[in-house]
């Protein structure tokens, strides 16, 4: 379930459509101070469901929309899409890929993540379908496609939208999609700039929360 691509458009300093392909083991992002490297990290956190404007270094969520520059007008909206590989697993059962499972043993059922429901919303805003995690056992993400696109969009007038494979969902559904995968805005997988020592300097309860995310 690798993160294979990030697409930004109108997000912070990325006024134009920009793509980053993550098709190698170690990808470096380099460049002068203030050019937009950490804005890419903010974009990824934002799509994963970040709700605090402060943790995206702004004061209001609208601060993520390209605010204009000396030569460009402000953008009307910001949109970021994350694309994840979601191949069919050879062994057939996603649970078998769990690092907790002892080889040969099947995982005790109570360790299984709870039934998750992803609800698609149609144009009129009504519920138009539900996917249960149990229904898609042979892929890590409970969506039956080889790759999954997750998109978040925000307009200057405050409207916002979440999409999975171009179908509208709610924020809760995005959180459910990534439940138990180790990805999340508070996860241990993202170390922001200047926060390297934060794990050490946190209090014991905060450290526990990080490990619980991994559990």
């Amino acid at each position: 379930m690798r993160l294979s691509k990030v697409t930004l458009s109108g997000f912070k300093s990325f006024a134009d459509h920009t793509e980053f392909h993550f098709d190698e083991g170690i990808i470096g992002i380099v460049g002068p101070n203030g050019c937009g490297k950490s804005n890419v990290v903010d974009a990824i956190k934002w799509v994963l469901g970040e709700r605090s404007a402060k943790s995206l270094r702004g004061t209001a969520m609208a601060d993520v929309i390209f605010a204009g520059s000396a030569v460009r007008k402000p953008a009307g909206s910001a949109a970021v899409t994350l694309c994840f590989d979601n191949p069919r697993l050879a062994s057939g059962d996603a649970r078998m890929h769990d690092p907790f499972a002892t080889p040969g043993e099947t995982r005790p059922a109570e360790l299984d993540s709870p039934e998750i429901e992803i609800e698609w919303i149609d144009e009129a805003g009504a519920e138009s379908g539900v996917v249960r995690r149990g229904a898609v056992r042979d892929r890590l993400l409970p969506v039956d496609t080889d790759s999954v696109d997750v998109t978040r969009r925000l307009w200057a007038d405050g409207r916002s939208e979440y999409l999975i494979n171009n179908r509208k969902v709610r924020l809760r559904d995005i959180k459910d999609l990534f439940f138990d995968t180790g990805i999340g805005t508070d996860g241990y997988g993202i170390i922001e700039q200047g926060k390297v020592a934060a794990l050490l300097e946190a209090n014991p309860a905060e450290r526990r929360a990080v490990l619980e995310e991994a559990a």
């Binding site: 098709d23 170690i26 990808i27 470096g28 380099v30 050019c35 490297k37 950490s38 997988g189």
Partner: protein, 172 residues
């Protein structure tokens, strides 16, 4: 049956402070540990207890983790993060200038540690250190040819100038 938390905790503890754990690998020795703190009741509670970290670089006896230096703290955090990854890999890991406080020798060890995990995950690393750039399989440059507007270019290591400026690269 042990809870998931208990299983993860034991796994991380081993991968962090064990004899072949990430701490000893990154520091070339020393010792480290994570342990649960008793709650108000004085007992250790798997459901409530907070986590304390102990880390001793080789030959040193810091009483608390706060006495470590800036670079030692960065390396200890990287060791703990890698230990969590070994116990429970996440599909990707983003490191934004975690090498900022490191001297050259520690940058070298940090780069080495990334390659131990490539079978489980992939890394997105933001850096100004030339040595870390060399450890990357692919480099993206982010520049602002028009002030205030970010543009992505693909670069090879040799196109990143000595002064950190990105020379001609292929526009996205």
């Amino acid at each position: 049956c042990r809870t998931r938390f208990e299983m993860v905790f034991q796994a991380v503890r081993e991968h962090f402070g064990g004899t072949d754990g990430m701490f000893r690998r990154l520091f070339g020795g020393g010792s480290a540990d994570i342990y649960l703190l008793p709650t108000e009741s004085g007992e250790i509670d798997w459901l409530e207890s907070g986590i304390e970290i102990r880390a001793k670089p080789p030959g040193k006896e810091p009483r608390v983790i706060n006495q470590l230096s800036g670079g030692e703290k960065s390396m200890t955090t990287v060791a703990l993060l890698m230990a969590i990854f070994r116990s429970r890999p996440a599909p990707f890991c983003i490191l934004d200038e975690v090498d900022a406080a490191l001297d050259e020798a520690n940058v070298e060890r940090f780069c080495g540690s990334l390659s131990w995990f490539l079978d489980r995950s992939h890394f997105i690393v933001i850096t100004h250190h030339k040595r870390t750039m060399q450890a990357c399989h692919k480099l993206y440059g982010v520049t602002m040819p028009q002030r205030g507007v970010s543009r992505r270019v693909s670069v090879r290591f040799d196109q990143v100038g000595r002064d950190g400026k990105i020379q001609a690269g292929v526009e996205a």
